[in-house]
Symmetry: C2
Subunit: 492 residues, 2 copies
């Protein structure tokens, strides 16, 4: 009958793929490492994008659009950034195809249409944007520039996973320019807060705000701030990053401004981004073996109504009531669908909408109609209640809020249970292998130790939490002194 | 003082570029043929996109996202389509850069990272989408598929112009799949109507709906419907196209469905698109020598308020009143900005917002405040009126509607005056050279004559208007019999 989902227990990775594919969020494509975002998945992304876009605008940002291609000479200008991304670059070398003289109806790349300078398909846009800002900035009066771009980017990945790691993905990238380091750092932190607010209060996924170690910084950044979330298998997921870029890109592209004393200085920069990867995190944070569980605030559909009838007459009577209810729900701004199709039975529909993670299901049969009640099932807890039809729209409105809150609290309880302190190396390894989650441990602060721990345990330092408690201790690996614990985890 | 715009009369082409660049819509980029869409231009595009997106959703379409890259073997599957676009394709051949051993700090394309199969950067997405639809369609129950995508596409152009013709541009492309030709044709026409509705009622640009000749069809289409607009220099601009693709792509990608009699047949297709090119058309249809003139319904800013003061005290008193007015305007859904910056004088601001095409300017000085009036200037006609401050928000609301209507009527009167009938070849050439605009003339219906006319006059057949009057006549070039006039023009 319905679609079969591999259980989380049995094969977590397959469970995840089943949810994405059978839940109708995305599909594989003919292009290696690229995926197709299906209408249901894209509607989810649109809801996420629209909320974020509003938040960006409320914090003074405007959208713009910069070219997909970055000429190689610009790409390599900021050396660390270039070095960091060089291995993942799709490169356009030719601008024309022509008929294959040896193979009728086929095409070959025209060797005469070779570009003088190769074009990199943007893996991130700092280079092309700072090259543009050069022309926009002369004086402090031109600052700050607070610009965001919604775009596709390409990073050639060897091992890809739907949403979590794809060669092409959709994202937004904010790129701001400031007169002072202080202002740029404040912007970097502000956007981290915006991301945390969004992920916690809209996606119902709790996050830890922190700073990356130098090793894990964005290539070309002075500091990378991040939000880290925990998945149900105990692995961490970096959900968003906000970078203080210092004057690195301004120096690489020679972007100076005259301050109000007419002194020339390089401009200070930030960049920050979240991507369709968030959808992967959303799926892995909340779903169960019956399918997706989507938080009401961003679910494409919040309520589905399924009629249960044995005759056209019954269906007609039910539909009359439902049409009134649908209007009332829409008037409250609730996204509702009445699925009265005859192609599938109610049981099939129940399973399908559970799979798709619709937060609230309303079922209404002929006898319910007589009793003036409906059956309400919530997706997250699977609880069912029989509720009077009169005023049910307000019941549903409240229930959606309750589900949103409950999902966050559940994820937060799980996350909090999975932050474990380790004081010795063996304890550290034992926790990672048995309990997973974040491990809070002392580290001697060196890149070498960080690398060694990663090599031995496959765990990385996810972040140094903001406002981290200071505490004397010794590094779990080297025994050298340390002043604070950092958060380790195996991660996506 | 202000920015100087070349006059339309003096150099139409430079006038256009000045408007785009100095009006803050876009900027050149470091990538050949690609442009940067600046925040003001992007805000305009967002308004256009949002209206179109709503129209698409109201007609039952959903958004999705398909890969940027098309493997060459898929790209060449529909031969006519492939042939039509082959000459304009940016091609990705490699997936990695590496350090240049001979040039420290520089990068080269890694010859060892050559793709087995080249990837075409999509110039349009029929191939990748129909290859995907193959997996989505088995039976008539899976149809119709009504999907749209907002995306960037790349068509390598030798001669580019800001917005009108750029190597990369933003667009939407609808791709629908149907069980019958009739349904697909109805969809094609429906979307043409949606485009005409949008361009006329939101952009205030009148259009002629028609069908392209076989010569001018989209590569791979059975029929291309279009809307054609007229620019102020008398040249035509294709503003949108909607294609009936027949079963061409279904055959190329072997997409069959079983109908309700269990018979297998190929699926019927449409595709339709408009792009950022529309912004070029908008600019050329309405602007004057002082700058842009934007229709209120899509203008990023509808009203700007400029205070005129000689002291901080005066400014404070004016600002108090203006803050109340701004609230009232926003409550009416009007996009308003109060420019109280001290950096520039009122005269500079007047010129700047005229250049940017803000439909209504409100000026208020100390004496106005005493008299409880404001000065209202409309951008389109430059008329100024002194209006009581009390209730001025409603005056402005009505004025915005009036401007929208007036802009359309003015453009329509111009367009209607520039549709001229020609009955002889010399008359045809004379009209093109002296009056420009559309020329309505008989044509013998052959591709050869169409080509010859183009060669001799640089005019192309823009369309055969829908519901075209049937009339006996003779071809202006060959004298052969013809049953209807078609619309010729020189075009962008």
């Amino acid at each position: 009958m319905g679609k079969v989902i591999t259980s989380k227990e049995q094969d977590y990775s397959q469970w995840y793929n089943d949810l994405i594919l059978k839940g109708g969020l995305a599909d594989y494509s003919a292009v290696r490492g690229c995926m197709v975002i299906k209408p249901y998945g894209f509607a989810l992304w649109e809801n996420m994008r629209d909320v974020l876009d509003r938040m960006f605008k409320e914090t003074g940002h405007q959208n713009a659009y910069f070219p997909l291609f970055v000429p190689k000479s610009l790409f390599e200008a900021e050396e660390k950034n270039a070095e960091g991304f060089a291995k993942e670059c799709a490169v356009v070398t030719h601008y024309r195809l022509k008929s294959d003289p040896e193979n009728k109806g086929k095409l070959i790349v025209d060797p005469e249409a070779k570009l003088e300078e190769e074009l990199v398909v943007r893996p991130t846009s700092e280079a092309i944007i700072w090259n543009t800002y050069k022309g926009w900035i002369q004086s402090y009066r031109d600052l700050p520039i607070l610009v965001n771009q919604w775009a596709n980017v390409v990073r050639w990945e060897m091992r890809t996973r739907l949403f979590l790691r794809t060669a092409e993905f959709l994202w937004q990238e904010g790129h701001t320019a400031h007169a002072t380091a202080k202002e740029a750092i404040a912007e970097t932190k502000q956007m981290l807060d915006v991301y945390a607010d969004f992920v916690e209060n809209w996606m119902a996924v709790p996050v830890i705000k922190g700073v990356k170690t130098p090793n894990e910084r964005f290539a070309g950044a002075e500091d990378t701030y991040c939000i880290e979330a925990l998945m149900q298998d105990g692995k961490a997921l970096q959900a968003g990053t906000s970078h203080f870029l210092g004057q690195n890109f301004a120096k690489a592209f020679d972007v100076k401004f005259s301050d109000n004393n007419n002194q020339l200085d390089y401009v200070w920069a930030t960049s920050w981004g979240v991507s369709t990867r968030l959808i992967g995190g959303l799926v892995m944070a909340h779903s169960d073996d019956d399918g997706l569980i989507l938080p009401p605030k961003i679910a494409p559909l919040q309520v589905v109504i399924v009629p249960i009838y044995k005759s056209d007459e019954q269906k007609g009577a039910i539909s009359n009531e439902v049409h009134i209810l649908v209007k009332k729900l829409k008037a409250l701004g609730i996204r509702v669908k009445y699925d009265d199709s005859d192609n599938n039975r109610p049981g099939w529909k129940f399973a399908e909408y559970e799979l798709k993670g619709v937060p609230v299901r309303v079922a209404i049969g002929a006898r319910d109609l007589e009793n003036n009640v409906v059956e309400i099932a919530r997706r997250d807890t699977k609880e069912k209640n029989t509720v009077p039809l009169t005023g049910v729209e307000f019941y549903i409105q409240t229930l959606l809020e309750e589900i949103q809150l409950h999902m966050f609290n559940k994820a937060k309880a799980f996350r909090d249970e999975h932050i474990t302190r380790a004081n010795h190396w063996n304890e550290f390894l034992h926790i990672l292998d048995t309990k997973a989650g974040f491990v809070s441990a002392h580290w001697d602060g060196t890149a070498e130790t960080e690398e060694k721990i990663k090599e031995l345990s496959k765990a990385t330092i996810r972040c140094i939490p903001l406002h981290n408690e200071q505490e004397e201790g010794v590094c779990i690996l080297t025994g050298k002194p340390s002043k604070e614990r950092v958060l380790f985890a195996r991660a996506y």
